[in-house]
Symmetry: C2
Subunit: 288 residues, 2 copies
């Protein structure tokens, strides 16, 4: 099922974002380049699956799923810019500003973020109250008190020690918030009640934490070839990480704990959530 | 009336965007700094007035009016960045990246753009079909086929000659599109019919053209003290402008023609549109 979501999303990305001849061909090429750079499509998959469980069709959810993936993509483009992390490579390919130049990359990011909201509004969900609530959630999770806030705090502690609370807050905002958008919007579009939306939020927050701590662990224990990116980059820059603060063993324990909390939150969805549980386990028990 | 809109918007900007103590204080300060830098609040005023004419209350329109102003503000912040126009000054004050640093300015722009959609969704308009249509219009006008597209084409012809058609296209996208959002969203939120929305669109497209050509004229004929920014900057960079292509006299004639077309489009709104007509005239007959 989740493999099908990946294929589905790749097709949708090509359908909506393939460049067309004209004056903005270069901009569209940059948008499509980054959006089709081989991401795992985790967030769209989570949204589609919560939608399915709560009674929204894939067709109804897809515009929001694409919007979320576009927002995730824009955030990577802007993160890689010279004035931010200054990363030349992303997923084994030159980053957007290396391939297309800095001004085009900046504008491609802006355009992915803006167009995302236009595409989301094209959902065929009849009850527009749900659409408005989903849109609000999307902007909230991606905005100054969500993902961007996490990025700001992350930059602030780039070269100075942070406490475990700060590190958790960064992960909760920078990583978990787009997963929260995925999980809750799937529920909202399907018309789920408040308690289910809230359970989906708990699932996503904890899964995001587990996922990010696992990332920190792999940064220490894996190899550059397996990860497809430089390892040990955090230690080099003197940056506090979850692992540097609690140690490898405790970090691995905490991955298990957060994953368990995430999975338990799914109980209110009954047997329907079995695939989601499997997916969560695979995500955090990965070796790359 | 239009003066009241400016005061109203300044108060709303302060209410929603004043920074609060906490980890993202710096980001919020940058957002507020740029959003309260003394803009003329033209777009919110146009939206509020079209809303009033079509039967939406100021309270219903304000979230979208603020959203549009935030999007306008983010576009100025990103335009000023070193990788774009590299402007150190904006409205007589240091630009956002000069005052707060490049990464904070980039993220403040991203946050203004994202939070705009959250705030827009807080409108109390009952008919959510209208809210969804307004949100879609906002994203469309600001996105890759709207304002950002105009920015892309503008950059493309930064240092090479452009035709009059290209220059008009740049103005129609880069300047007119946010005015189109202002005018049409006011109508949409008030429940206006298709023909009124379309008339509002014609008004805004032509007013934007007139406004921008007037800007090009003032760049040649005014003084730096009066404008509060360097003059002759376009001629210096060898950039084609409306004035350089058709001459000063023809440009001044065209301002009148486009303004007249804009004003005539308002006929379908009857006497209610008198203030809008006055406003349009003041905007293009200004000397600074």
């Amino acid at each position: 099922m989740f493999e099908n979501y990946t294929e589905l999303m790749n097709a949708v990305v090509d359908k909506y974002l393939s460049p067309e001849n004209g004056e903005i061909y270069e901009l569209q090429s940059a948008m499509h380049y980054s959006a089709s750079a081989g991401g795992k499509r985790i967030r769209p998959a989570v949204m589609l699956e919560f939608g399915r469980i709560c009674g929204a069709t894939a067709e109804e959810v897809l515009p929001f799923a694409l919007a979320l993936e576009m927002i995730h993509t824009y955030s990577l483009i802007h993160d890689d810019l010279p004035c931010m992390d200054d990363d030349d490579m992303r997923r084994g390919k030159p980053s957007c500003h290396v391939a297309f130049g800095e001004s085009t990359a900046l504008l491609a990011g802006d355009a992915l973020l803006t167009d995302a909201f236009k595409i989301a509004m094209e959902t065929s969900v009849e009850d527009k109250q749900r659409v408005v609530a989903a849109c609000r959630k999307l902007a909230e999770c991606a905005g100054s008190r969500g993902m961007i806030g996490g990025q700001v705090i992350d930059l602030k502690y780039e070269n100075k020690p942070a406490t475990l609370d700060i590190i958790k807050k960064i992960h909760l905002l920078k990583t978990s918030q787009l997963l929260v958008a995925a999980a809750t919007i799937g529920c909202i579009l399907g018309g789920a009640d408040e308690s289910c939306v809230s359970a989906a939020q708990t699932f996503a927050e904890n899964l995001g934490l587990a996922f990010q701590i696992k990332d920190d662990i792999l940064d220490v224990t894996s190899t550059a070839e397996v990860l497809g990116k430089p390892i040990g980059s955090d230690a080099e820059s003197n940056k506090s990480t979850y692992v540097s603060l609690v140690g490898l063993k405790q970090a691995e324990n905490d991955v298990l704990t957060y994953t368990q909390t995430a999975i338990s939150a799914l109980d209110c969805f009954g047997d329907d959530a079995e695939d989601l549980k499997e997916f969560a386990k695979k995500l955090v028990y990965r070796t790359f």
